[in-house]
């Protein structure tokens, strides 16, 4: 960001990056971009299984379905992170799922990103009902890799970050979300990182 630059210019560049399907120049959290699910190519073959998990209430919080190794994940509410994590693992996808409270995020980085070769893109869509859905083709999460799903809840808005970590994934250490704190005068909390852990992969 330069000082002559405005919000509109920065947003334009990001949108152009989406259109040209290339990484934006300054996109530290580009893995959070809609339609650009960064996943590592690997060689795991997911088991053929179907698992739809229901939580209390009329709408399932999430659904995991498997068609010939292609795993479709639908998240309709940010509840039961542990349940989703287990459902993915039951389907052969090593996963770490953390839904953080408002204003908090997991401290980054959670681990090592997969190596340079074999990166590929999937897509993340939003359904009419507001659910998030994405698909993992066989091998998108490698044998020694973990699918990391975490929320980042800012000032009234939130996003789901989906990424792949190679090797060990550190537990989610809650820190104050930086998303809504972009140097603006309306920053609500200036407190330092607070500690806390939620579920970790395992």
């Amino acid at each position: 960001m330069t000082s002559t630059d405005q919000f509109e210019d920065r947003l334009l560049r990001e949108l152009q990056a989406v259109v040209s399907a290339q990484p934006a120049a300054a996109a530290p959290t580009s893995h959070r971009l809609r339609n650009r699910l960064a996943v590592g190519a690997g060689t795991v073959a997911a088991a053929t299984a179907g698992a739809v998990a229901l939580t209390a209430g009329s709408t399932p919080a999430y659904a995991v379905s498997d068609h010939d190794g292609t795993v479709t994940v639908t998240i309709s509410s940010l509840k039961d992170a542990a349940g989703l994590q287990h459902a993915l693992q039951a389907d052969g996808v090593q996963a770490a799922v953390d839904y953080t409270p408002a204003g908090k995020m997991c401290r980054e980085p959670r681990g090592q990103a997969p190596g340079g070769s074999g990166r590929m893109s999937g897509s993340v869509d939003t359904t009419r009902g507001g659910a998030t859905t994405f698909t993992l083709t066989p091998g998108q999460v490698g044998v020694d890799e973990t699918l990391v799903i975490e929320t980042s809840v800012g000032n009234q808005v939130s996003s789901i970050g989906i990424s792949v970590i190679k090797g060990a994934v550190s537990p989610c250490v809650l820190v104050t979300s930086t998303r809504a704190d972009g140097g603006g005068p309306t920053t609500q909390s200036g407190s330092g990182p607070s500690q806390g852990t939620s579920s970790k992969s395992g």
Partner: protein
């Protein structure tokens, strides 16, 4: 057969830039006539253009006025955000618009938010209307579209839009919200 420039925005960064520069201010005004948080306004602005990029391949020039088309998209985006907020269902992925906001951008967004105060009050009042009736009236009285443009934005026939507008005005007076004397209330933007 020539390709409409709007269709190109989904794949051509240059076409996107032209389209974006023409409409970005109008969209920020559109958004700040509905929300009063600069960060949320930034995110919604990003969402509107993303949704437009996604919808562009299905754009038909026959639908006319690109701004009306974009306003229709913007209305859906803001409504979706409102529904999500109401249900506390916030599970979705988006471009993180607010992370591009610097201090002076927030100041400019707050200026728009100030300018939109009257419109936001009206927008809140319209939320009491039945859903089908609200859309047309909203675009006409909040955003200053003509009935024809509102019809374009909502994918309705003009005559249908006109009927709904009439019904909405009737509902408004029933709800004692005050009836706009003409489809176009005085311009809401003063600056």
């Amino acid at each position: 057969m020539s390709v409409d420039p709007i269709e190109l925005i989904a794949r051509d960064p240059h076409a996107l830039e032209i389209f974006y520069r023409v409409h970005v201010e109008a969209i920020q005004r559109f958004v700040t006539r509905r929300v009063n948080d600069p960060y949320l306004a930034a995110d919604l602005t990003a969402d509107v253009f993303l949704a437009a990029i996604e919808a562009a391949p299905r754009y038909s020039a026959a639908r006319g006025n690109p701004q009306a088309w974009l306003f229709g998209i913007a209305r859906n985006v803001v409504s979706a955000e409102r529904r999500r907020a109401a249900r506390e269902l916030r599970a979705y992925v988006r471009v993180d618009g607010q992370r591009f906001l610097a201090d002076d951008d927030i100041e400019r967004m707050n200026d728009r938010i100030d300018a939109g105060r009257e419109a936001r009050a009206l927008y809140s009042a319209l939320l009491d209307l039945p859903k089908g009736e609200r859309a047309v009236l909203e675009l006409v009285v909040i955003d200053g579209l003509s009935v024809t443009e509102a019809a374009t934005a909502l994918g309705l026939r003009a005559v249908t839009a006109r009927v709904r507008l009439h019904r909405a005005r009737t509902s408004m007076s029933r709800l004692q919200l005050g009836t706009p004397a003409s489809p176009l209330v005085t311009p809401l933007e003063t600056s």
